[in-house]
Amino acid sequence: MDHVKLSAHNLNLFFGSKQILKNINIDFGENQITSLIGPSGCGKSTLLRCFNRMHDLSADARIEGTIQLNELDVYDKKNPVTQIRKRIGMVFQKPNPLPKSIYENLSYGLNIHQFPKDEIPGLIESALKESYLWDEVKDELKKPAVKLSGGQQQRLCIARTVVLRPEVILMDEPCSALDPISTRKIEELILSLRKDYTIVIVTHNMQQAQRISDKVAFMYLGELIEYDSTENIFKNPRQELTKNYVGGHFG
């Protein structure tokens, strides 16, 4: 593998006394798209949310093990969580634009991270272009973001993440609330983002995982069962469980 961008070592996660993630070890290569697949409740979204510390606000979540972004220890108390989340962006299952204008949805992150005021319009324009949204919204940047269609909203949410120039983008089933055409557009967008970002995506859609990912990780009941190239996972899985799942026998 090329340079390892993001990794988890001996990661365990508990909600109260219930163990959700069991001894996860995984490395994500730089500028690669990795899909996390597995049946509902297998812990893939929970794992994804470990990387940008989204469990910090859950009272009963307890995490053991380490997560590293390059050499940086993500859970080291010395590293402010706001900086971690600036470097590791996240896109959610349901589009969640802020109740503000299209422009403000992008300027919000830039403002809180104190980007120079005169650079903001340019950064917003290029992020919208990168997210294939510029042509559709360039004349109505002041329009409330909630007036956009679902697919446009999700591309806006990706643009809002991209505008901060993160190193990693985490995506939690970004297409599950969208129609096939919007899904196709988001997939094209994800593929085009690969050259600049490391992408980890949770998906329920086997075809999607095959279409977009370089590597695939299969999880089951909180364990990482198999992690390999997309081709090997779908054509020559080593584990019986993986074979049954990608073959559609359960899930």
């Binding site: 940008n52 989204m54 959610f92 802020l98 809180i112």
Partner: protein, 281 residues
Amino acid sequence: MKARLIIFLNWFVLLGSTLLVCAVLGIILVDIFSKGMSSVTWEFISQPPAKGMTQGGILPAIIGTLWLTLITTLFAVPFGVACAIYLNEYAFPSILTNVIRASIRNLAGVPSIIYGLFGLALFVQAFRLGTSVLSAGLTLGLLSLPYIITTTEEALKRIPNSMREATLALGATQFETIKDVVLPSALPGILTGVILTLSRAAGETAPILFTGVAFYINGLTSSVNQEFMALPYHIYMLSTQHQSIEQVRPLAYGTSVVLIAMVFLLNLTAFYIRFKNRTQQ
């Protein structure tokens, strides 16, 4: 046939109850307005009482009630909203927060005269604020707090978590998330609760009885350490304490009209805010 009869009876009972409640409200309003409108003139709301309150207006009572509501607002809204934000956004669910929340709910059920006695002991005597519009406003503020906290918490609960996650994932702090996204989205709900609470507080009599309301004051209340006249107490006084009750009865009804109009105006503001918010979405 039987099923249809039951459906009809259900509908009839529900509609009947609704109409009954509306009818009672209507009768009260018609009664007060028919007996009071004749005394509501410009002089009535712009002049102080005259000739042992048998003539003149109720300006000091209007001013007093405005003072009172202002002080109640300044005290209860910031504390109430802050407390609700703490409970809903920061406090982890635990036995302690449940006890706090249950205590607040219970406070809403304490009779208002108890608040009056408490205000007398705490603000008037212990804090040495004397019987004044400040003491009375703070007492009414205490009375309003549980309602403001509860309605604000409900408004905050209605903001979906995905909204909070959106800004948190961009690297916003929890405080920035609350200030920039949660509060603005919850504002219509919070304002509605605040206004309904204040309009209730403006009509309270018992809590201000011991803490600063006056039978009559010469001139208008001009600072927070003075005593004051208030509309609800003025009504009470004109209808039960005056030496010639029959003669001032139209004035009592007129004062009621003014109080109801003020409360109604406040409620109308809440209604407008909700309407505006609904049409914006």
